[in-house]
Amino acid sequence: MAEKDLLYNYTLHLADNSMILGQRCGEWCGHGPVLEQDIALTNIALDLIGEARSLYQLAADLKGGSATEDTVAFLRDVLGYKNVLLVEQPNTDWAYTIVRQFFYDVFHFYLHSELIHSTETRLSNIAAKSIKEVTYHLKWSSEWMIRLGDGTDLSRDKMQEAVNGLWEFTGELFMPSKIEQQAFEAGFAPDLNILKPMWQEKVEDILAESTLYIPEREYQQKGGKTGVHSEHMGFILADMQFLQRAYPGANW
């Protein structure tokens, strides 16, 4: 793959993860368990979509022609999306939302910690900006993990259920797609194998403090990175792309 195509595709991996998770977080706006946390989660959604925008703008530059952040974000179908299955999982309840966020935040944090050293300065610049936001997200979701895991019996049950339900989507974070592998070999993407033990350690620490445990089930789902998503993804895109599809070429 030509270097430019490789960077384009790798950028989509990053962008789609933030975009779809931001979209999910945005669904909470107006429905949070308490006003203050409604605002907090919306801030996270805004950070994620903001990061996605920077990445889509980079992707659009790489693509050239009439591509914009919006054509890249809104005009691909399910198979073209490269986000992991984890971020497209439904909100379900506050427990699922927090656990999904936490699993992803830990990954996002270590990924960006490496990415700021990328030889590709356009990526390292984006990572340098977003690492501050991600550090805060991780703090926020870790605290909620502990608070709810170690809260009441009911909250512990709900959190454990969410951990059990989402665990099988965490492995994919570290199974490199062909693109991620090549991007690593080309020198501008981190080695997912290095990130994995860091992720594992942090997750184990926080789960322990949360009085939660990792489920025994070992099988891990995969597919999102190569476009083979869950059924949820089609509905996310149906919502997200509705206007762009219904009124092709219109300005908004």
Binding site: H31, P33, A52, D70, L148, T152, S155, Y247, W252
Partner: protein, 318 residues
């Protein structure tokens, strides 16, 4: 004694001295404010719903972040206002409970559905516009915490109206379909926005007292007239038509004349029969009930941690 207190109180108000939470105030003043501020707070958070609807569907990324930030601001407004109301002696949870059981009201405008993207434009332009018109004078309300909350709110509102108008402008400069969408939204939101200023002055029984207490600085009809006067040229720039055949410039008055408001519709919506009353209230109640275990667990954890810290300190001291 009571008489003297009340006279002194009114004198402070007449002298434009703000009333602060722990100052003496007539019970009716406290109740009136509490009702008004909590209603206002409820309106902000119920008002998140019709627009929140479109966050996942915003047509591009710029619009998506702007809409998210706007709806988030409304949550903030609710929060500032609940805080102001709490200084009058009712907890936020109690106020929310009154909303949830249908005892407290919120602005009727939010009981109308958002059907198209143009509704995001019309709401920002007209609904936030009408709200600003109502709210700017409240920045000088006699009750300190309310006035201060309103200063924050108004500062943030100005972006809301501009983003709404920009959405409308883009649609009106777009394809014929988009322009039709904008016109349709104006058609549906115009009259409900006009109703946001409340009943006509001769039908607004509590207004006199509120004016005397400087909770209210302009009458409903004055504000409504102002709203019409500024909206007409704005619609002209957009090139769409306000759905009122009686709308015309009155040289003698120096204002626009406008048609009669359908107060029957207004009363029906206030009474709970608007198109979305049930759905809006249900969304709020659901959010509250589904969040109960979260709020409880957070308190339980905070208490546990406090205990642990205390016992740690004790062992350290020993």
């Amino acid at each position: 004694m009571e008489i003297n207190l009340e006279e002194a109180f009114q004198k402070r108000i007449d002298d434009e001295i703000k009333i602060e939470p722990r100052d003496w105030m007539p019970e009716k003043y406290r109740k009136t404010l509490l009702r008004q501020i909590s209603q206002h707070a409820h309106s902000e958070i119920v008002g998140m719903l019709p627009e929140g609807n479109w966050i996942t569907r915003a047509p591009n990324l710029r619009r998506k972040v702007a809409l998210l930030a706007k709806v988030q601001d409304e949550a903030g407004h609710g929060l500032y206002l609940y805080s102001a109301a709490e200084t009058l002696g009712m907890s936020r949870d109690e106020m929310l409970n009154e909303l949830h059981i249908g005892k407290a009201k919120y602005s009727s405008i939010f009981n109308y559905p958002t059907l198209t993207w143009a509704d995001m434009g019309a709401i920002g332009w007209l609904v936030d516009g009408a709200a600003i018109m109502n709210q700017v004078p409240l920045c000088r309300a006699s009750y300190g915490p309310y006035a201060r909350a309103m200063v924050r709110v108004c500062k943030e509102e100005s972006f809301h109206q501009r983003q709404g108008y920009e959405i409308m402008l883009t649609l009106c400069q777009g394809t014929p379909e988009q322009k039709a969408m904008a016109q349709d939204a104006l058609n549906r939101w115009w009259w409900p926005s006009m109703m946001m200023f409340g009943p006509n002055d001769d039908n607004s029984p509590n207004s006199a007292q509120s004016t005397k207490w400087k909770i209210k600085r302009f009458s409903n009809d004055e504000l409504r007239q102002k709203f019409v006067d500024v909206s007409v040229p704005q619609a002209e720039i957009l090139g769409i038509t306000i759905p009122d055949p009686d709308l015309k410039w009155n040289e003698a008055r120096g204002h626009f004349d406008f048609g009669v408001i359908n107060w029957d519709e207004f009363n029906q919506v206030v009474a709970g029969n608007g198109p979305c009353n049930k759905q809006r209230l249900k969304a709020r109640v659901d959010a509250w009930e589904k969040g109960a275990w979260v709020r409880e667990a957070a308190v339980a954890y905070a208490e546990k941690r406090e205990k642990r810290n205390l016992s740690k300190e004790n062992t350290n001291a020993a």
